[in-house]
């Protein structure tokens, strides 16, 4: 051993000596710490991760646009672009660039609305709930009055008074049983069975439709003015406006119930949100007030 010690080169001796030096210990430890911290920092950097699925999707879009698959180089470019987009977006967020940006705000609000809106069908209401809803909205399901009647037409394009006179003369005749149809040809039907007052309103005007509701039954009466001329009318039967029972209107009532339930739910959600905030509006600009 001594032999070997005595054979030591001066350099080696120096290293050995330095190894024992506390200053060197200090420097070495410092360097290690430095490298360690660097490594730790690098591990702590936020990660931009693009998984195989997203990469596949991106490459897919590229292919549909270009009508071929990207080369490796082009794939690198796609990745690059995606990474840039991500880091730019994150930097923008960290700088608060999303604040006071109408586009960003609208998109977020839209996403939130979408996420909160219940698009699935709501559970069926129980019998009592549906009945209560129906009682409240009954008027919506009312069926219009319906009329069964015939009429005779007298065109007034060539003079109102003459048409009225013809109609009155005809009324006298049909009332006393002389002849049945003394009117003129008419482009719309001359008789209606169980016709809805809504349709008659639309086709003849309100005066005519209204007269059908009050005219005496089973006898000719008139003349009544319409949008076309004068008419004699004979009402055979009338069914007044009718409100159906829940059973008769069930499917309509159910869909109306669900529609309003969905709306109510969405409104309640927004209401709840609004309550979490205090709204302050600091004046309305002059330009809006005019």
């Amino acid at each position: 051993m001594t032999e070997s010690l005595s054979n030591q080169s001066p350099v080696r001796a120096m290293i050995v000596r330095a190894w024992r030096e506390p200053l060197v210990h200090f420097l070495l430890i410092g360097a290690l710490l430095f490298v360690g911290i660097l490594a730790a920092r690098s591990l702590q950097r936020p990660v931009v991760r693009i998984d195989a699925q997203e990469l596949g999707q991106l490459a897919g879009y590229w292919s549909t646009q270009m009508q071929r698959d990207p080369t490796n180089e082009e794939l690198q470019g796609i990745i690059h672009e995606r990474v840039d987009e991500e880091v730019l977006a994150r930097e923008a967020l960290s700088l608060g660039l999303d604040k006071d940006d109408m586009i960003v705000r609208r998109r977020l609000a839209q996403k939130m609305t979408f996420a909160s809106e219940d698009t699935a069908n709501l559970p069926e209401p129980d019998a009592a709930t549906l009945m209560a809803f129906f009682e409240k909205t009954k008027a919506d399901y009312q069926a219009p009055p319906r009329v069964t009647f015939r009429h005779q037409f007298f065109n007034s394009d060539r003079g109102k008074d003459q048409a009225l006179a013809r109609a009155n003369a005809a009324l006298g005749k049909v009332s006393s049983g002389q002849g049945t149809s003394l009117g003129e040809p008419f482009l719309l039907p001359l008789g209606y069975s169980d016709a809805s007052l809504i349709d008659l309103n639309k086709d003849y005007g309100q005066d005519f439709a209204g007269a059908l509701l009050t005219a005496p039954l089973n006898q000719w009466s008139g003349p009544i003015a319409s949008a076309y001329g004068f008419h004699l009318i004979k009402v055979d039967s009338r069914v007044s406006a009718k409100t159906p029972t829940l059973d008769e209107a069930r499917s309509d009532v159910l869909s109306a119930y669900q529609e309003q339930a969905r709306k109510a739910r969405n409104a309640a959600f927004l209401d709840g949100l609004r309550k979490k905030y205090r709204v302050e509006i600091s004046g309305i600009p002059q330009t809006v007030l005019k």
Binding site: T148, L187, P189, L190, S193, D194, D203, G205, S237, A249
Partner: protein, 646 residues
């Protein structure tokens, strides 16, 4: 009126009516009467077997009004125009309910509910834009939609152009045609039509638009299905831009029991392509082609908001009323049309009879309907006094469609800049296009069958009714007979029909029109004739009935001016001008038995304010001096054809 009318089981029982002679009524008096005792007995009955005939059933047919061209948010472009209304909303609007417009006001039909409607969203990328607006969807990240969902109109416009262009040359990303998206939308359309179909009251059809436009030249057509039996997915222009392939697909469907017809529209935007005289692939037409086309396209939507395609002033220089709501631009962009022949129905009908003479077949033997083409989910919104145009927020406000001066100005001294020509296009659009059909009852079967036999008419919006029949021997007194319609059918053919060859006599035409009670009075009734003479197709317009006791001037063939006017400061028409009804029997004085011909009726109202004038009055500014202040609303019947031999 505060409440909505609904179908209920109670009213359904009333449908159980049987056809019976009404006591005391004259046989065949044009009456729609069905047995009242049966109707009464049925009311209150709990259960009835499905009725074979609906209320209002009329063997002599009723006029029903509808709209078979309606877009909702499921159409890619409507969604871009900020329209968020659904097919359900569209049907509700048609039934008279109020709907919110994307520009923030309420809209409602002032003329009352329609009788039938089909929602016909663009089948290309159906539902895809709604999907693309969802940031969770991969579609949202496609570069092509970049800016589309922003609030910046310039970016939206740029994205829209990009998408239209990509659609045109078929380079839209595949994601847009994702089958799952399309299936979901198609299901919504089918379900909605099913929900709202209410026989006897309101008829719906499942339909879609086949949106083909080679080089931007419009070949769009709507496909309307007879009933709920429809294909799994529409056949769209993504599969082929060639309409012939659509018809072949329809033939395949038909063999599988799926019955449909296609209705082309906006021939005016096709730059002559709609009625080109070769097949789309350049091959010559033949009889098989003509049969295929007519089997699948018996009708043409010849008027709609994007202009009326009856005829162009340059094609019909002798028709003083040819200049009606003419649009001379491509669809969706301000590129000028250069070729009018091939883009208008009268011209095509003429080309058709000429081809029949020369080659033995006629690929252009179609009837007429009108439709709105609303992209606001607002069927029937073609009322001049109640107009909000048709592409959502893009033209929802008067300023956006150029009917009032820009930026709150009170005069037209300063020209409004129109860099992309949109304003000019919107100004040239008309509040026009409604379908009329003569059908026994308001049901899918009856209305579809009427469309098949072309017993249809088109109006510029008002619900005017027109009857049109032809025969060789109508009784002299027919116009005064109470069985007019019975005899008209029995002895002749209605609109859409074919006259038998003449045995020497000239045909007679019954033209009978009735005003819309909510619109103006009638001014004149006309018959438009096209015929082949010495190998050349010709046309003429005959006035056949005049209002206000006036008579046709034999020298000019025209009614004298009835003096009807409109007060342009209120849009109030002059009172006591025009007729409620026009009824005439006309024998063609120029008829030659050896000349092939067609005839259709056109009836004009008195002048009334155009939508642009209504907009200006409401705004308190003068009407745009570059636009016509008034129009004459009108109705067109489908043609009746005459062939010299069978």
């Amino acid at each position: 009126m505060g409440y909505r009318w609904r179908t209920t089981a109670g009213s359904l029982t009333a449908l159980a009516v049987v056809l019976a002679a009404f006591p005391g009524s004259t046989a065949g008096s044009g009456s729609a009467l069905t047995g009242p005792s049966a109707a009464k007995a049925a009311v209150g009955a709990k259960k009835v077997t499905p009725p074979s005939r609906l209320p209002g059933y009329n063997t002599e047919r009723n006029a029903y009004f509808g709209d078979l061209h309606v877009h909702t948010k499921l159409s890619f472009d409507a969604y871009i125009f900020n329209v968020r209304a659904s097919p359900d909303d569209a049907y509700r609007f048609a039934k008279g309910e109020t709907l919110g417009h994307s520009s923030g006001f309420n809209i409602r039909l002032s003329g009352g509910p329609l009788d039938f409607v089909a929602v016909t969203d663009h089948s290309e990328y159906i539902g895809a834009l709604q999907e693309a607006a969802d940031t969770n969807s991969p579609l949202n990240k496609l570069p092509i939609v970049d800016g589309l969902f922003s609030t910046n109109p310039v970016n939206i416009g740029a994205a829209f152009s990009r998408i239209i262009e990509a659609m045109g040359n078929n380079t839209l990303p595949k994601e847009f045609s994702d089958k799952r998206i399309a299936s979901k939308a198609w299901k919504e359309i089918r379900d909605s039509a099913e929900r709202h179909n209410d026989p006897g009251r309101f008829t719906t059809f499942v339909g879609y638009e086949f949106t083909s436009a080679p080089d931007g030249r419009n070949l769009h057509r709507n496909v309307i299905f007879k009933n709920a039996k429809v294909p799994e997915l529409p056949y769209s222009a993504v599969q082929s831009q060639d309409p012939e392939n659509l018809w072949l697909q329809m033939e395949t469907w038909r063999k599988a029991g799926v019955e449909a017809l296609a209705i082309p529209h906006n021939m005016n935007g096709s730059d002559g392509l709609m009625y080109e005289q070769t097949r789309r692939d350049g091959r010559a037409m033949d009889k098989a082609y003509a049969d295929l086309r007519m089997r699948n396209e018996p009708l043409a939507e010849m008027t709609q908001i994007k202009g009326t395609s009856e005829t162009h002033p340059s094609l019909s220089p002798n028709d003083e009323w040819a200049n009606f709501e003419i649009m001379e631009s491509y669809i969706g962009r301000a590129k000028a049309i250069t070729k009018f022949s091939g883009g208008y129905v009268r011209d095509a009908l003429k080309a058709g009879i000429l081809m029949q003479d020369n080659k033995g077949f006629n690929p252009f033997k179609f009837g007429f309907i009108g439709a709105s083409d609303t992209h606001n989910a607002a069927p029937g919104s073609v009322e001049d006094r109640n107009y909000f145009s048709k592409v959502g927020r893009t033209d929802g406000m008067p300023e956006r469609r150029g009917s009032i001066p820009a930026e709150g100005r009170k005069t037209w001294d300063v020209a409004t800049p129109d860099p992309n020509g949109n304003l000019g296009r919107f100004q040239s659009w008309g509040a026009s296009g409604l379908a009329g059909v003569w059908a026994e009852e308001n049901s899918r079967d009856a209305i579809y069958t009427a469309m098949r036999r072309k017993e249809t008419f088109a109006t510029s919006g008002p619900r005017m009714r027109v009857r049109f029949f032809a025969a060789y021997d109508y009784p002299q007194n027919i116009l005064k007979r109470s069985d007019l319609v019975t005899v008209a059918y029995r002895n002749g053919v209605p609109m859409g029909g074919d006259l038998m060859p003449s045995k020497g006599k000239a045909p007679q035409f019954i033209l009978w029109a009735m005003r819309d009670p909510n619109s103006g009075y009638l001014q004149r009734a006309q018959i438009v004739k096209g015929w082949v003479q010495n190998g050349v197709a010709k046309e003429a317009v005959f006035d056949v009935a005049c209002s206000d006791n006036l008579a046709v001037n034999p020298a000019t063939g025209r009614c004298p001016d009835n003096g009807a006017m409109v007060d342009l400061s209120t849009c109030e028409p002059m009172r006591y001008k025009g007729d409620a009804e026009m009824r005439t029997l006309w024998r063609d004085p120029t008829f030659k038995p050896n000349q092939r011909a067609f005839y259709y009726a056109r009836v004009l109202e008195n002048p009334s304010c155009r939508w642009s004038t209504w907009d200006a009055i409401r705004n308190g500014t003068p009407p745009n001096p570059t636009l016509l202040p008034t129009i004459q609303e009108r109705v067109w019947s489908s043609p009746i054809w005459y062939a010299p031999s069978l």
